[in-house]
């Protein structure tokens, strides 16, 4: 085992963690502020990938197409999320959790069929944009440029979220609503719009994750189920509702899995669950303080 292989494997793991973070940050925000476990989060991620596909088809396969799609697809998903929140979710905040789960789970089925009706069951693939193809070579190892690109995007999203939550008035209101909704209402702030905003932001993050992963995977039905288990695992391990907890556990999962493939290939497949299990035994309420 030479150092270069280890280093590239580590970086690949980190880039994998970035996608996990972008998707699970949205899930954990919704968890924290709305107290809703949104099973349809994976569907929004899938929609992000499909919308990016359609956007690129319309915009042409050129260089600009990818970047525009990266802008458009997540925004479109955010709008869909907004419609879900205003049209459905807001009526059931006062109901028990099972009811909320039933609703978000039914959305999983609805979106699954909708995707089939709109895009069909054929496999779809997007090319990696020209600027991001190929690999960086160092010593004997290499790192695909697209993975390096994800390594840049992830911290940017984290920074943006930090700025929004801690440096803007709206973000502070979001955090306040997560802590004590009644108090926010009493103080004369309209918390229902904050709910809508956070759900749309969650949708935007899911859509961004889907659009970012689109060029490297096979865009097809079933993407939703693949990501949602990971996202829930990460959110629970990180501490429900805690964005930074999600960041840390995403990176642990990504790097852990990647290094697992390198050192103990036989166990790599169960490693994320093993890591989650061990972490939850050590810290049953999650790595960082849970918002619940």
């Amino acid at each position: 085992m030479d150092f270069a292989t280890f280093a590239s494997q580590f970086l690949i793991g980190l880039s994998r963690g970035m996608i996990f973070f972008i998707v699970s940050a949205g899930l954990t925000l919704v968890f924290g502020v709305l107290r809703v476990s949104n099973f349809a989060h994976g569907s929004l991620y899938m929609l992000g990938a499909f919308l990016a596909y359609t956007a690129i088809l319309w915009l042409g396969q050129g260089e600009a197409g990818f970047w525009l799609a990266l802008l458009i697809a997540p925004l479109a998903v955010a709008v869909i999320a907004l419609v879900i929140e205003r049209g459905l979710l807001r009526f059931i905040y006062k109901r028990e959790h099972l009811m909320q789960m039933l609703l978000t789970y039914s959305l999983v089925l609805i979106f699954g069929d909708l995707v089939k009706m709109v895009w069909g069951s054929d496999y779809k693939s997007l090319p990696v944009p020209q600027a991001l193809t190929g690999s960086f070579h160092f010593l004997e190892a290499n790192l695909p440029v697209y993975n390096a690109f994800l390594l840049l995007i992830g911290p940017l999203v984290a920074l943006g979220l930090w700025f929004f939550l801690f440096r803007t008035h709206l973000g502070k209101l979001c955090r306040a609503t997560a802590a004590d909704r009644e108090m926010v209402d009493v103080l004369g702030q309209n918390s229902t719009w904050i709910f809508a905003l956070v759900f749309a932001l969650g949708g935007w993050l899911a859509g961004l994750g889907g659009a970012l992963i689109a060029p490297t995977v096979n865009i097809a039905m079933g993407m939703d189920a693949n990501i949602i288990i990971y996202a829930f695992l990460i959110v629970v391990v990180g501490g429900l509702g805690n964005v930074w907890g999600a960041l840390i556990s995403s990176l642990i999962m990504g790097v852990g899995e990647s290094l697992g493939v390198l050192f103990i290939p036989d166990f790599a497949i169960i490693l994320p669950y093993l890591i989650a299990g061990v972490l939850l035994i050590i810290r049953p309420s999650g790595l960082l303080r849970s918002a619940w």
Partner: protein, 410 residues
């Protein structure tokens, strides 16, 4: 997660009660006069989720066969479809519903091997002929085979052996084995390795890696494999993973360093979605090409399929198509709609297909079909198979004696 299960159950039961009443529409409306000559097929397959594209291909092929048969004055084939969502319990439930409520004569399907095995068990207990055109597990006509189950596609034993024939002609010694961690992936790789060890003594296994189905990022696996520098990499994967894995080969340039073998690497359902992103130089076996063999029969099939569905047929289209043709000929041969007589007629039945003669072997009901192998390459701006070699069925299908022995072991 427990709560999710409960919610799912509720919704599933709602969906079930809904489908039963609406789905019947396709099957009703025949007069008693005609019913004598109409066979009703209940199709269970995966129409949602990652494997749906294969189910659609198979169904379209079957529909084409039914239409052609009717045009030629053959037996009328009616069908109803049910979506098993790649779930074993759903497949069995639909099988029961189709037989009891829809009163189908024949069952067909499903891409999910475990689902195929479950439906096969039901078919055995209730003496309903079951044509497998999706599940590729070698257990279907092997260890778990019986009188009522037939397979119209090459199973993993055939695929593994064909792959071993292809690779045994090359000088590689040190192999890395990898794949998607499910029945199909393991079965292909195990069969491949067992056969290669016999055909090419001196080969050694450098290691194995297995990823979960629906893996989003293959780079860690490819990085690991590359660092161990094997002579060749053999992969058992299918469905969505197949497309994503091929893409990862392109992105990482793996095939330039290490020769890669994957079954269906050259199939249209893999190459079409990839377009220009398909990697060159990947080796693989495949049961069907729209452009090979270049015979009038194949051309006629491709033209008819294109005319009906506006796309070229991939391998699963031919499985569905053959199933329809086998059934039609069996009914004609039996001269009756009696299930037992249809089974008798199907046993050992030979038909002409776009790829030549196909026979449902009498002993184990496995279709005898040639296989092709080649390498992905850009020919005239289009990704397709290059250097195609035909492997006759006898060379790659385990002998009936071997298969029947595996049944005894049970």
């Amino acid at each position: 997660m427990k709560k999710l299960g409960l919610a799912g159950l509720l919704i599933a039961s709602l969906a079930l009660s809904g489908c039963g009443s609406t789905g019947a529409g396709a099957g009703t409306g025949t007069t008693t006069n005609k019913e004598q000559k109409t066979v009703k097929v209940g199709i269970i397959d995966t129409y949602t989720g990652g494997a749906a594209t294969y189910a659609k291909d198979a169904l379209d092929g079957f529909k084409l066969a039914a239409t052609e048969t009717a045009e030629k004055g053959g037996p009328k084939i009616e069908f109803v479809t049910r979506d098993d969502e790649f779930k074993v319990d759903k497949a069995t439930n639909w099988a029961k519903e189709l037989v009891m409520r829809e009163r189908v004569d024949i069952l067909a399907g499903t891409i999910n091997s475990a689902g195929s095995l479950a439906v096969s068990q039901y078919a055995k207990e209730n003496k309903i002929p079951f044509i497998v055109w999706g599940g590729m597990s070698d257990k279907i006509t092997g260890a778990a085979g019986h009188r009522y189950v037939f397979s119209t596609l090459p199973n993993t034993a055939v695929i593994g052996k064909a792959g071993a024939v292809q690779m045994s002609k090359l000088p590689y010694k040190k192999y890395w084995l990898a794949g998607s961690d499910y029945e199909y992936g393991h079965s292909v790789v195990n069969n491949f390795w067992a056969n290669l060890e016999k055909m090419a003594p001196g080969v050694s296994k450098a290691g194995e890696s297995w990823w979960r189905v629906g893996e989003t990022d293959f780079t860690p696996y490819i990085n690991k494999i590359r660092s161990t520098k094997p002579d060749a990499l053999v992969v058992g994967t299918g469905g969505g993973d197949m497309v994503a894995f091929m893409k990862a080969i392109t992105t990482t340039g793996l095939a330039k360093d290490i020769p890669v073998w994957v079954h269906t690497a050259t199939d249209l359902s893999t190459l079409a979605p990839l377009g220009n992103e398909a990697p060159e130089g990947v080796m693989g076996t495949n049961p069907y090409f729209a452009y090979y063999p270049d015979t009038p029969e194949n051309k006629a099939f491709v033209d008819a399929f294109k005319k009906a569905y506006n796309r070229e047929p991939a391998a699963f289209a031919i499985y569905g198509y053959m199933s329809g043709k086998f059934l039609a000929q069996a009914i004609q041969k039996a001269g009756s709609m009696d299930k037992e007589k249809i089974v008798d007629a199907l046993e050992g039945l030979s038909i002409d297909t776009p790829v030549g003669k196909a026979t449902l072997r009498k002993e184990d009901h496995q279709v005898m079909l040639p296989m092709f192998y080649g390498t992905t390459a850009k020919v005239g701006g289009k990704m397709m198979a290059k250097d195609i070699v035909t492997l006759p069925a006898e060379q790659i299908i385990p002998s009936a004696a071997e298969v029947l022995k595996s049944r005894e072991k049970k």
